[in-house]
Symmetry: C3
Subunit: 352 residues, 3 copies
Amino acid sequence: MATIHRQHGHFLEDFRPGDLYRHRRGKTVTEGLFAIFTDFSMTTNPLSKNLRYAHAYGFRGLVANPGLVMLVVFSQSVEDVSENARANLEYIDMRFGVPVCVGDTLEAETRVLGVKVSTRDPSLGVVHVQTTGRNQDGEVVLTFQRKVQVWKRDPAATVAEGEVAPEDIPVSLVLPPYVPTRKYHDLAYLSDENTYFENFRAGDVLEHSRGRVITTDHIMLTGILDNTSQVHCNQWMVQQQPERYVGGQLIVFGGIPFNLCLGISSADVGDNALADIRYATGRHTAPSFAGDTVFASSEIRAVRDFPGRPDLGILDTVLRGHKFTRKSEQVEKVEIFYLERELAVKRRSHYA
Amino acid sequence: MATIHRQHGHFLEDFRPGDLYRHRRGKTVTEGLFAIFTDFSMTTNPLSKNLRYAHAYGFRGLVANPGLVMLVVFSQSVEDVSENARANLEYIDMRFGVPVCVGDTLEAETRVLGVKVSTRDPSLGVVHVQTTGRNQDGEVVLTFQRKVQVWKRDPAATVAEGEVAPEDIPVSLVLPPYVPTRKYHDLAYLSDENTYFENFRAGDVLEHSRGRVITTDHIMLTGILDNTSQVHCNQWMVQQQPERYVGGQLIVFGGIPFNLCLGISSADVGDNALADIRYATGRHTAPSFAGDTVFASSEIRAVRDFPGRPDLGILDTVLRGHKFTRKSEQVEKVEIFYLERELAVKRRSHYA
Amino acid sequence: MATIHRQHGHFLEDFRPGDLYRHRRGKTVTEGLFAIFTDFSMTTNPLSKNLRYAHAYGFRGLVANPGLVMLVVFSQSVEDVSENARANLEYIDMRFGVPVCVGDTLEAETRVLGVKVSTRDPSLGVVHVQTTGRNQDGEVVLTFQRKVQVWKRDPAATVAEGEVAPEDIPVSLVLPPYVPTRKYHDLAYLSDENTYFENFRAGDVLEHSRGRVITTDHIMLTGILDNTSQVHCNQWMVQQQPERYVGGQLIVFGGIPFNLCLGISSADVGDNALADIRYATGRHTAPSFAGDTVFASSEIRAVRDFPGRPDLGILDTVLRGHKFTRKSEQVEKVEIFYLERELAVKRRSHYA
């Protein structure tokens, strides 16, 4: 008889540059998953709300908002990549492909691009990976790199340090064509008339007016995503080692404020977007906890044409999330999220 | 470069009697939305639980309970009507039309009927509106008036006071016909044998035995409904102005106790209802907060025939919600909800 | 005019050995119910996650995990059997039949097998029942006995003590056949390679590494299941009688830790299971409350052939749930759940 403690997930010494993990399970985007995440996130885009509208635009069904696509693909990589992570450091070059609609099944795989031991703390290191999600037809829905700080299982273990070049994942944003005979105008009342491409000016900063508190519901939400990281749901574990786990508090899965910031910005910049195109870089600049109220702003960095699509334009934005904390009598604004974000936005000239 | 604070929703000075708002987005009743709200609400009517039963009664699919229909239509009106409201004062003449089944898409519009500045506090006023929800085929599913107390954006602004007559919205309750060859009897065990029309007597008061605590889950529930009102989810905001926001507490969206009271009453008065017909008037007589346990009672005011439907009868009821509070050693029963409610209830003679 | 307090559910004196309750309502397994429970429970089996995979294995749709089947059938029996219960004592001989997929409608009925007054406390007694759940085609999906401690309504009432023999409910586990031409191998990366039948050895104890805190979300989860027991959701009631209700705390519905323990064990013993076969006996050995972090272990009691299915083997296991409590400086491990569980597990020789 043996007592077996199978530790799930990999540790720093398990990663080898070039290795490929095909993640387990996959996940079908049921109407349940869709409703919980699309709606909870405060997304306002009618493509994710109104089936009549989504069909009129040429989509097969209700369209998963970019945050949900990211959450489903990312969460599948957690067990192999970051179940034993200390922190997620950076999202890099996150690009969207074909749209995801209700009923699609997403699977994901991750290539290890680099492994490096921390010089300051040899019990830790940075793993650099490239994760790609595909639908049931093998089409890429999302690909991105990320860097994550991972614990070692055995502090004395040898680590396979190194770096390989990212794979060239063919991904291109697929959008339904603009069909002049479709009666887009008739449905224009369903989105905000102040969020067409023509409304945006480089340099503007939109301070989004809405905020949303995170409650302990983050634990259920994270579980529903199959995110197996223990720092988000294992209260007893974090309480036993407060020095290791931010004072013994459950930290909110970064995907929750990520999705909330996208949603909060939606009414001001995303209501007439056909899709998010690419996130060049993104970071959780401070942790979130139950009780935090999340706010967001969008800076418009540039407005440009969408090649081959005169009905659309591209917005280059920076989406920032923040929360407020109070120290004695002082209120401090803390940035919690930073995302360089490109959106494909409808032009009023064609749609309204 | 400009920093833009787009305030969403309208303020008192924005409303003009006669104006029509076609609300944005619309909402498809996915199986996710349906499960969360129908089930959470403690509804017991098998039309909303059991697809086999709903089909046997001639419905196209699982039937949205009246509370869900009301929540989806109402919530769509929040951004335009009450995102900047202080309080919802009254529901008036809420009438149901065609049934809503899973998969339907609901859209809503609101006519401004009246605007009036408060004589006691000129920073506030009352807006009187008429909201109508329709399905993907343009059929009316719900129409109602409500009065809501709305803040002014600018205390010095001029307000377009006035009143116009309500529109005559053609709405009639649509129910599947009674078909004697259908085997209703075979399914009679699925509903409560004590809740047929013949069981009710005018003057009876049913104290419903079940209660249900509201937790911070109200925040997620309200978000899932796309209700954008900040007083239900923006913890930081309400904490900064406790004098404006009931002591700095998040107030529970009235639709939550509304739906809970309907659900709690369901086992005693709604289990054999084919539909709710009309709510002549309704009010949230006290606010609810996380931690409150909601109870309900139904007073039977009258029992009458349903014209043209000998298989059904009409119950005129008053549904009341309450909670208990403890002040020092004293327990106080606080009424939180009042609704004059007509239901179409099956007769035992035809169905059991 | 009369004020009527209809008390729902039966009390000890209402039960008569041999009586049959056909439970009300039934419940369709919508995608909403499915997503909430399957995903929240930390289940890792791709049959319940990935529609492509479920189809490839010959199932009609996403497969409800055993915990969800149990929760839906059990919860339907609560109103009649245990709404007025003090405690659920034991599950006995719980056997699974045909698989439950998304979209199925389950109904349940319960036979009273025995009634016995407590010798220590005459206001209580034990009811022994046999509950069976069937799908829309009348096929048995689950049958089990349980013993539950039920309050008397009237302490002086006469109780119909007695015992009848259990019915012989014909139930047999239905599984899709093994079809050598199906490309199981191609999908083998979607489940854990360490959880094939060949991986298990009698005597091994697997201490599952993951834990999950229960929050007040248990209240919403229990409501979504239509479980009407008040001790899980009526905060005011339990606070008024702390001596009757474990100190005035809402007790977590046992189905929640039951489902969580199954889910937590899933990555180590259930990832390559085609089904759970039978639970010979099960008990909640201590109550759970919001704030408890649930852990689990699986003891492999025996490994044996599956008659007629050379592609499968049977694991006889004991699934134990536990939590930790701290008394002054002492940490105590408290067992909260015990389940003798048989699983049908794929053999690597046939599937990988």
